[in-house]
């Protein structure tokens, strides 16, 4: 394993630990601030500084991990499950069904992802879960395309034909041979989408469609810090840096999965 990949895994494991046991990493309260300590620059006392009401920014980032990560998980799960099922169906059935599904996917792909997510939010209403579902639906098209192309490839292999030759029925062969052998690149895309979803959820949070204040969701943190951009750079830069690190790490891990297979 190369150094970059090890670092990427370390980043992901660290933020996962933040989400699971935030108390281990910080003793400060993410919601209740100490007004006397407002807008302090990063230092030994407050690693990421404090915001306008004296809340420790590092504590808010650590406690915010669970919101951003679970949102990303839901988004990826929605995209992965819906997309793979549709791709499997289209790729293995072929014919009219394939054509219809793929043309719908073409339409979805022609709409910018964020716009699509915003449209879905307007239909579902704002909120953490709805934002995640919206981002997930925005990524379904990519999953359908990839999984369909894999299914079409695997369906042409000798071992799938041999499975039919062994008396296998269509759904059994699909489940036992086609699906497992098609999943490799799809898993790699899921890892990549994880980073993309964090970014999209943060963006939507920043725009005010996601979590309500004072939830320390990462996008919301950056949005709140925007008002102090001129005087207190750390309020936007440090949470932003965390988002960038996680997205880069997810992309690096995705590349390694794509290369070696899961």
């Amino acid at each position: 394993m190369k150094g970059g990949l090890i670092l990427s895994w370390l980043v992901i494991v660290l933020v996962l630990l933040w989400a699971v046991v935030p108390g281990v990493f910080t003793g400060y309260d993410p919601i209740a601030g100490v007004p006397a300590e407002k807008l302090q620059a990063p230092g030994a006392e407050h690693l990421f500084g404090t915001d306008a009401v004296g809340r420790d920014m590092f504590a808010r980032v650590v406690h915010g991990a669970v919101h951003s990560l679970s949102g990303a998980f839901v988004a990826v799960a929605v995209g992965l499950v819906l997309g793979t099922l549709l791709g499997l169906l289209a790729g293995s059935a072929g014919g009219v069904l394939d054509a219809v599904v793929m043309r719908v996917v073409d339409v979805l792909l022609s709409v910018p992802g964020l716009l699509l997510a915003l449209t879905v939010i307007i239909l579902l209403g704002p909120g953490t879960v709805n934002v995640a579902i919206a981002v997930g639906i925005g990524s379904v098209a990519a999953f359908v395309r990839l999984s369909r192309s894999e299914v079409v490839r695997v369906r042409r292999t000798d071992y799938v034909e041999a499975a039919f030759g062994s008396g296998g029925r269509f759904p059994v062969v699909l489940w036992r041979h086609v699906l497992p052998n098609s999943l490799g690149p799809v898993i790699a895309l899921a890892a990549l989408q994880f980073g993309v979803a964090i970014l999209a959820i943060s963006t939507l949070g920043f725009l005010g469609y996601g979590a309500e204040p004072p939830t320390p969701e990462w996008g919301l943190l950056i949005a709140e810090g925007r008002n102090y951009l001129a005087t207190s750079w750390w309020l936007t830069t440090l949470p932003g840096a965390v988002v960038v690190a996680v997205v880069l790490a997810a992309s690096r891990i995705s590349r390694s999965i794509a290369k070696e297979g899961p």
């Binding site: 039919f164 030759g165 062994s166 008396g167 296998g168 036992r176 052998n181």
Partner: protein
């Protein structure tokens, strides 16, 4: 002094020794054949000589003397002046070795341009000359064509033209004909022979095919597991092999064994094929892949369908196992039901044992699959049956938990055969089932197939391009050419008294080990 003198070279991949203590010489104008099975290190040796080892390989020891120069000590940059000019290479796979986006003329011209042989006009004239020399009709038109417009044999001729462009003193031919049909193979080997006679070029022929090596070389170097087992003049090695391994190799090579013909038994037919036609549509036009094929296979015997690529033999096989619908005509298999249970009765074994086993499943799961599909027995009896099947194909039960990629080619083909046997079929269609295997492994699989036929009374339809293998295993033969069966009969008749011109041409193309 020898033209090429390889002394005690050793090559390792990622620190693991692959080839060790290889020494041999090539005299001017001589053909030396390096023979061995896959993994014997023959290609590694060839690549070491021409300085084209992959990046994870290193030449650890030894000298490679080309005339006075020791190539082993030369830098990659300096080797560039040798490649093409002094040593030409004919690569293995004609379909992968040409650049698909450049014309044939540009690719031959490239080697002349790199070594600065004349201006553009001279190079263009020389390219046409070379194409004519390697026997391509209408060379001027060929020079303007792209690789995909040429057949496999024509592409191999282009690669030969590139190899001889600078009239090197030595040509390394790495399996130059393995990907070609037998009649094409023969013409290509004849061409290499002619060029050698004309220019006095020495040839280092790397091949797995003992028949080709024996019929075309002056001296033989037999390799196994990265070492030289035996070397000497071809006549000596062929008539009195010293090493145990060479003896086995000679015994296993179907082209060289003189087993008696099998006589067809008089039994009721298990497979009856009548006027089978398959038409494929390509855009608006269509062509007949199979054009009125008819044959019968008596129960418990082997019928071979022989032909070159594009002859329609695989399409016929696929119609017999009902993977392809015939356009017209019938296939009837005695006792086979018409529904899904047909697959309990008729099984197909594929050419490529790497592609026909699901890479994610264990060997036990793969062999058990037909039993599960047909709900034969409960879990425990199925597992017991899988164990028996593995015994039948002479595989250790330790392999049950392994994945296909951990197995050798021969072992994988045994697994494929075990799977085919699982549901107790009566007819097995073998589509080039031994073609991808080394000769010693091939001989073992053929023995296994014969034994299974004796024990279980199986009927085989054996698809092959390899006449030597067909001669050994089949009772009756049909020869196919361009979708038609041109000749049918017992193996003895077809091989000893061929009536059709095409059959005679095929038989003449089998490499004869006499020189």
């Amino acid at each position: 002094m020898s033209l090429l003198d390889v002394r005690d070279i050793a090559v390792s991949y990622d620190g693991r020794r692959a080839v060790e203590g290889i020494s041999f010489t090539v005299e001017p104008g001589e053909v030396v054949a390096v023979v061995g099975e896959s993994g014997s290190g023959k290609t590694t040796t060839a690549h070491a000589i021409i300085g084209l080892l992959p990046r994870n390989a290193s030449l650890d020891a030894g000298q490679i003397l080309l005339g006075e120069n020791d190539l082993a000590t030369w830098s990659a940059r300096r080797m560039e002046s040798v490649r093409g000019a002094q040593i030409g290479l004919i690569p293995q796979d004609p379909s992968n070795s040409l650049d698909p986006v450049k014309t044939i003329g540009a690719q031959i011209g490239e080697v002349l341009r790199i070594h600065k042989r004349g201006d553009r006009g001279t190079i263009r004239r020389r390219v046409v000359e070379l194409l004519a020399r390697v026997g391509l009709p209408d060379p001027q038109a060929r020079a303007r064509q792209y690789p995909h417009e040429l057949s496999g044999g024509m592409r191999q001729r282009v690669l030969i033209a590139i190899a001889i462009a600078l009239e090197p003193r030595l040509i390394i031919a790495d399996e130059p004909t393995s990907a070609l049909d037998v009649t094409v193979q023969r013409r290509i080997l004849d061409l290499v022979d002619d060029l050698r006679a004309e220019f006095g070029t020495a040839v280092l022929l790397v091949t797995h095919d003992l028949g080709v090596a024996a019929s075309r070389s002056d001296r033989l170097v037999v390799m196994k597991d990265g070492r030289v087992e035996e070397q000497g003049t071809t006549r000596e090695v062929m008539s009195a092999p010293a090493a145990e391994y060479t003896k086995r190799l000679l015994g296993d090579a179907p082209a060289l064994s003189a087993r008696p013909f099998k006589d067809a038994a008089a039994a009721e037919p298990a497979i009856v094929v009548r006027d089978l036609v398959k038409e494929f549509r390509v855009g608006r036009s269509s062509f007949l892949a199979v054009d009125g094929a008819s044959f019968e296979v008596p129960r418990g015997t082997t019928h071979a369908l022989v032909g070159e690529s594009g002859s329609g033999k695989t399409t016929t096989a696929r119609m017999v196992v009902r993977f392809t619908e015939p356009t017209s005509g019938t296939v009837s298999i005695a006792g086979a039901p018409d529904d899904r249970r047909f697959r309990r009765h008729v099984q197909l074994v594929y050419q490529n044992p790497y592609g026909s086993l699901d890479p994610r499943q264990s060997i036990a799961d793969i062999v058990e699959e037909p039993l599960r599909n047909f709900r034969l027995g409960d879990r425990a009896t199925r597992r017991a049956r899988v164990g028996e099947l593995l015994d039948r194909v002479a595989l250790s039960r330790d392999l049950l938990t392994r994945r296909p990629r951990e197995l050798s080619g021969g072992q994988r083909q045994r697994v494929a055969i075990a799977r085919a046997l699982a549901a107790g079929p009566e007819v097995i269609v073998l589509d080039e089932a031994v073609s991808a295997l080394d000769v010693t492994v091939q001989a073992q699989i053929l023995d296994l197939l014969e034994q299974l036929q004796r024990d279980l009374g199986l009927t085989y339809l054996f698809i092959s391009h390899d006449l030597a293998v067909v001669r050994q295993i089949s009772h009756t033969v049909s020869v196919m050419n361009r979708g038609r069966i041109v000749e049918s009969g017992t193996t003895r008749q077809v091989f000893t008294e061929p009536r059709h011109e095409y059959t005679r041409e095929l038989l003449a193309a089998i490499p004869e080990p006499v020189r």
